[in-house]
Subunit: 137 residues, 4 copies
């Protein structure tokens, strides 16, 4: 993480499910994006709202870009920590950054980034609510 | 398949994805239910409609019961055939039965069954449209 | 649950991920089988071993039958409790039963059952270790 | 696609499964990475080998980096085309690029990229076999 996103990181643990492994014996790479989703939802919860609330207010945050670098494989039953940072890119765009580490040895499994556009119920770009924007500024 | 569902079976092939395997080296068991979904959607398509049409008409067919017996493991890259039969249980309920076999050797991988209730857009039970009911009777 | 499995139930909570929902707005039915997996792994952990240990000892417990009845839909961000019971069916077979309920209102979302055969590293049936058998008898 | 990967593109169609949608009514973003996997496996098949063969020869190609830009949402039952290009980055690294388009209207749903390191059965970096390297050079 070279730059410094302004939100304090939010951490949540996930345990690797059997369903999330593949025949290589490690976690299938696409599942990290699911954990990133868990991470950013927890970050939004940490600032006093849930992503469900956001949707109920008619605002969606679809992913418009996703990136992940895989550092060392996570394995079945590993307990992992997902750390998430958020940063407002513009009044209608937000970026989240993630770091997944294994609790037992601190190994970094992956680092990632997703970018999201705020949209209203008709799918048109809209401003992020102030309570999100203010906290991720 | 002991009894005889009245619809002719519909067959569609799926190839096992890496994502669908687990660390045991075979297909993770829950994925068969996804292939069953592929099978019954193809069966509905075979009678001239798509499940998407059905939803656009305001009718949903949520799964209310699901069952699968695993006979022999499917593996990565196997080409499988999903055969599906449909049967009307009542004006508001339908049952589908499935058989998954490997094309290369005819091995039966799994047999299954799902039961569905027709619901309208408010989630209340509703009659299946005649074009479905008539064909699965 | 009509009969009485002899293991005390084990409970673990899961929160519904966005990835686990479908366009009907509720949890896609196959994902309950993944939560059942989470439940039985926690039950094995509760008796002092992990399923990972079991595999490291050369024993696998593939699912040979799976069943689920869906009672009321779970939704995104719901916190659910998965209760699991285990029962030895024979020296080489074990059954787990599951109940998934929503924490906020106690609604039962689903009840299910899986049956498993113990196999050794060559895929041949083998006896379950005593520490499993003894506790689930 | 700014630069020109030297392999001719390989195209394969996938139809969006209900399981792949989420409550936003569109495809959950992580599933595109699964289709990318389908695409690159088909590309390897097109050059006369399967990824399964590669693994049987003791070579794995784990993903070390993955990226996706989402252009327009794919929906349930859409038939999509996944086009894949491959390019050798070094004797031990390969890159694949992807474009997912909807067949009905040609809309681009997503473009992506994955990078892979060749490893042997002990997990150590190894040279890609000549038949892969030669074709993707």
């Amino acid at each position: 993480m070279t730059d410094t996103p302004s939100s304090p990181p939010c951490a949540i643990n996930v345990r690797v499910r059997y369903a999330e492994t593949d025949k290589m014996g490690v976690v299938y790479h696409a599942n990290y994006f699911v954990w990133f989703e868990v991470g950013r939802c927890e970050l939004i919860r940490a600032i006093g709202k849930s992503y469900r609330d956001l949707e109920n207010e008619g605002i969606g945050l679809p992913v418009i870009e996703a990136h992940c670098e895989y550092k060392s494989p996570a394995r079945y039953d590993d307990e992992l920590q997902v750390k998430t940072w958020g940063k407002l890119l513009s009044p209608v765009r937000v970026e989240f950054r993630y770091e997944v580490t294994r609790l037992s040895d601190g190994a970094v499994n992956a680092i990632g980034r997703t970018e999201h556009a705020a949209i209203d119920e008709r799918g048109r770009p809209c401003r992020l609510p102030d309570y999100i924007g203010g906290l991720l500024k």
